[in-house]
Symmetry: C2
Subunit: 174 residues, 2 copies
């Protein structure tokens, strides 16, 4: 069996977006104040927690769209509660899971353009776009969201970051 | 052309480890106190900055070793200066760049075991190990290192996180 660009994209995005939903639930279960957490930042010139999740969502659905040539659903960045952020994650997951694996056939060689508001940007082939931009950028926002929760006292650990792995399938020595 | 597990691993690790070296240089050029930064944490029960870089290194060289069946060089976690942390990144890069692309042939189906100190762990095939553990875990530590520098006032931005892309290859509109 080979390694497909699908393997390194769609399920990876779905896994971390699902993990984020669980982190939000955990913060709420601990009684943390969501309205405060949503606006927290690591540095004054960094985007707040809500934007980190919005950008994780944009990065994931944008990657799937650019790799397959499909259009990603547009999502207004208007979330102001954890329930809305969880829903944003879910709508992103639903879009990704609705794309058939076969839509990624040949995506490694597809021409991808990434444009910034000023018109500058990058032209890639799909392979370099995924590994050089989409994955690093996605994990940047996922990890920054996690970091903000940790820095604000939410009881998360590496097993929450990697929650998609499930429990170890090799047991501890007796 | 196809997408190979090499494409999604070795060059991805090298790119971010090279970026980290540049962030360390930037912090020093700004006159930041390296001895203080090295011990900084996002939360009392998270590992400090130096450990984030050591774990990014371990995660990268461990992944290349597990995917290829080669042995990764052991590196004692004794770094106490930015020069030593840069050298740790460089030795990790040198190991990865010394592994031939062909050593990754069939790595997607290779049996990989990841064991924790208590004996528990995960058994994966290489494909799932890379996308489910190695890449998320690597970017976790890279981004946490970046977050610590940002939270401590080092003047970094997304272009530093993605420095491996180089300048945009589509120019801004005139």
């Amino acid at each position: 069996m080979s390694f497909a660009i699908y393997d390194a994209s769609a399920p990876v995005f779905v896994a971390s977006l699902t993990n984020i939903q669980a982190w939000l639930d955990k913060a709420l279960a601990e009684g943390k104040d969501a309205a405060t957490l949503i606006d927290t930042r690591l540095a004054p010139d960094m985007r707040p927690f809500s934007a980190q999740i919005q950008m994780a969502s944009d990065s994931a659905k944008g990657a799937v769209a650019r790799l397959t040539g499909l259009e990603a659903p547009s999502m207004a960045d208007t979330e102001t509660s954890f329930a809305e952020l969880k829903d944003r994650c879910q709508r992103t997951i639903d879009f990704i899971q609705g794309v058939d694996r076969s839509a990624f056939d040949g995506a490694e060689d597809r021409q991808v353009e990434l444009k910034f508001p000023n018109g500058a940007g990058y032209r890639f082939v799909g392979r370099d776009y995924l590994t050089g931009f989409a994955l690093p950028n996605f994990f940047f926002h996922v990890t920054t969201a996690y970091a903000l929760l940790r820095a604000n006292g939410v009881g998360l650990g590496k097993p929450d970051f990697l929650q998609h792995l499930g429990p170890p399938n090799i047991s501890a020595a007796a």
